[in-house]
């Protein structure tokens, strides 16, 4: 076995342990691949010196038989995770030169387990977006292209850099975050596996906050098993995050390959939406057959409040964001504009210049729905609808063990195609936001290609804390789908 960026994360771990190649060779292969892939704009910051230092340390540990679970594994980190001493921008001008003085809990787990940092990955600004087009550092280009056109496509968002880097084999896996679909939708658009765990499974401490009741970190990888290995390292109770679940982290990889016979799979009828492309309907039907073949029982279910999830989300998320982004005031860190002006002008000018248009829109919506006279009609109403949505899932889970739906309502679209209408962009998350509102675990698995040769994903949704079962089902789908397609290298 040679040190190659095409290996699965699992195979790379085995190759390193067997001394088939060194961590340094593996890091160098990835550094070279990243240099050649700058046209994708997946990395905001490349950290080759750190990667080599990490790799050499890994080689020393492997040599003395002291390898940790991710020893020597090169990963990319979404630029929303604070990395100590390493520039962290959140994709925004307002944090363009910010260097955290502490490490996020999730990334500290990865370094604790011996992983190697290749760099910080591009994202929609403050994780607000579904196409990685709101980043102040430029859009990310999907490594996948349509068979019929060379038009640059979006990798999805907000974790567009993470998904593109994994799909283009620039890293063996990546961290990402998901507030309304930002792990699962880019995974679907890039033919990768993306997992949003149960709310509270991963600590949010040190992750730049967007919407605190919705944000959750998770892995993007090239196989269900790889994602399971990464999530096991990333997860864990953290006393510094009061919403962190105080539960043991299972060995998620041990669920991969467990039989799924007898599991009941719900198919929610409300996810069949008007105008849904026939190919996605067909793929969903194929997924149902694959799980049936694996011994699952398929049960039709109803989640009646599904269509209210997106509007509820677009009240709750901006409201929470308007509060979380109030800290960017030019005083203690980040951009400061108009230094000599009166205080209020410094605030207003700094935030106007530092935040992009989509972020400003969401701050304004959030401020409006929380303001005096509107709080009950909008914010409290949305919170009540949220409970209805969560109750729909809870009722369904009395009868089924997991749900199967498409991940996204289309394949990857062209850069610039959907930027003129915010609501059209928001509709990308139609199948994913429900899961964040209810705090459930969700996973996207690449399942097929559309007529243009672009990847399509299927989504599994599980009960709270039941990621293990999702990994078993995800693996069954992965085996049946036999998705081996890779993006044809044009960069």
């Amino acid at each position: 076995m040679a040190a190659s960026t095409s290996l699965t994360l699992k195979a790379a771990i085995e190759g390193l342990r067997a001394r088939a190649f060194s961590a340094e060779e593996l890091a160098r292969a990835h550094i070279a691949a990243i240099e050649q892939a700058r046209a994708l704009n997946a990395f905001i910051l490349e950290t080759p010196e750190k990667a080599l230092a990490d790799a050499r340390a890994a080689d020393a540990r492997i040599a003395r038989g002291d390898a940790r679970p991710l020893e020597g594994v090169p990963l990319g980190i979404k630029d929303l995770f604070c990395t100590e001493g390493v520039r962290t921008t959140a994709g925004s001008n307002i944090l363009n030169n910010f260097k955290p003085t502490y490490e996020s809990t999730v990334t500290s787990h990865l370094w604790r387990d011996g992983a190697v940092m290749l760099g910080k990955l591009n994202l929609d600004e403050f994780a607000m977006g579904s196409s990685n087009e709101t980043s102040a550092l430029g859009p990310v280009v999907n490594p996948w292209r349509s068979r019929s056109s060379n038009q640059p496509l979006t990798p999805g968002g907000s974790s567009g850099g993470s998904a593109a880097a994994v799909a283009a084999e620039l890293c063996l896996g990546a961290t990402a975050t998901d507030t309304g679909g930002s792990i699962r939708q880019p995974a679907a658009f890039t033919g990768t596996v993306g997992v949003k765990p149960t709310y509270g499974r991963c600590s949010r401490w040190g992750i730049v906050a967007f919407a605190s009741s919705l944000d959750q970190a998770g892995p993007i990888a090239r196989s269900v098993e790889d994602a399971a290995i990464l999530l096991t390292s990333m997860a864990g109770h953290d006393p510094k995050d009061s919403t962190s679940l105080d539960v043991e982290t299972p060995d998620f990889a041990s669920f991969v390959g467990r039989p799924v016979k007898g599991l009941r799979i719900g198919v929610p009828k409300e996810y069949r939406v008007d105008g849904m492309p026939a190919e996605i309907e067909a793929l969903w039907a194929a997924g149902i057959e694959w799980l049936k073949d694996a011994g699952c029982e398929i049960i039709d279910v109803s989640l009646p409040h599904t269509r209210f999830a997106l509007p509820a989300y677009y009240i709750i998320a901006p409201a929470e964001a308007s509060s979380n982004l109030a800290r960017y005031d030019g005083m203690r860190y980040g951009l400061r504009v108009d230094e000599a002006a009166p205080l209020r002008d410094v605030y207003e000018a700094t935030r106007a210049e530092g935040f992009g248009t989509e972020v400003q829109r969401r701050i304004l919506i959030g401020t409006y729905v929380l303001s005096h006279g509107y709080y009950d009609a909008y914010y409290l109403k949305a919170q009540r609808v949220r409970r209805r949505i969560a109750d729909d899932f809870a009722s369904a889970f009395d009868r089924v063990d997991a749900l199967l739906t498409p991940t996204a309502p289309s394949a990857a679209f062209g850069l610039g195609d959907r930027t003129s209408d915010p609501v059209a962009m928001y509709l990308n998350d139609i199948f994913t936001v429900t899961v964040n509102l209810a705090g459930l675990p969700g996973m996207s698995i690449p399942a097929g290609l559309d007529a243009h040769g672009l990847p399509l994903g299927l989504q599994l949704i599980g009960r709270p804390r039941d990621e293990g079962r999702l990994f078993s089902l995800g693996h069954a789908l992965e085996q049946a789908a036999a998705f081996t397609a890779k993006p044809e290298r044009w960069w």
Binding site: F308, I315, A326, E348, L364, Y378, R388, V423
Partner: protein
Amino acid sequence: MAIDAATVKKVAGLARLRVADDRLAAMADELSTILTWIEQLNEVDTEGVEPMTSAVEAKLPRREDVVTDGGDAERVLSNAPKRDKGFFVVPKVVE
């Protein structure tokens, strides 16, 4: 619900976010589109439903009231836009 440029200006003030005067009308249109779309929530009967404020069933955990971090002014000030003698330097707050 349609909102007008004056409302956008007021909300922008609350958010300490300057929207240029020549952008107010366009922003009002964009926000109105979104707010109108959101109004479909009124179709949902939420009589007697408790607002869901958290995605996790948990009581707020507490910890011992002891100092576990801090005392490192250099770290705290390291990203300051302007600093002097161990302080953040900011525009005058009190007239």
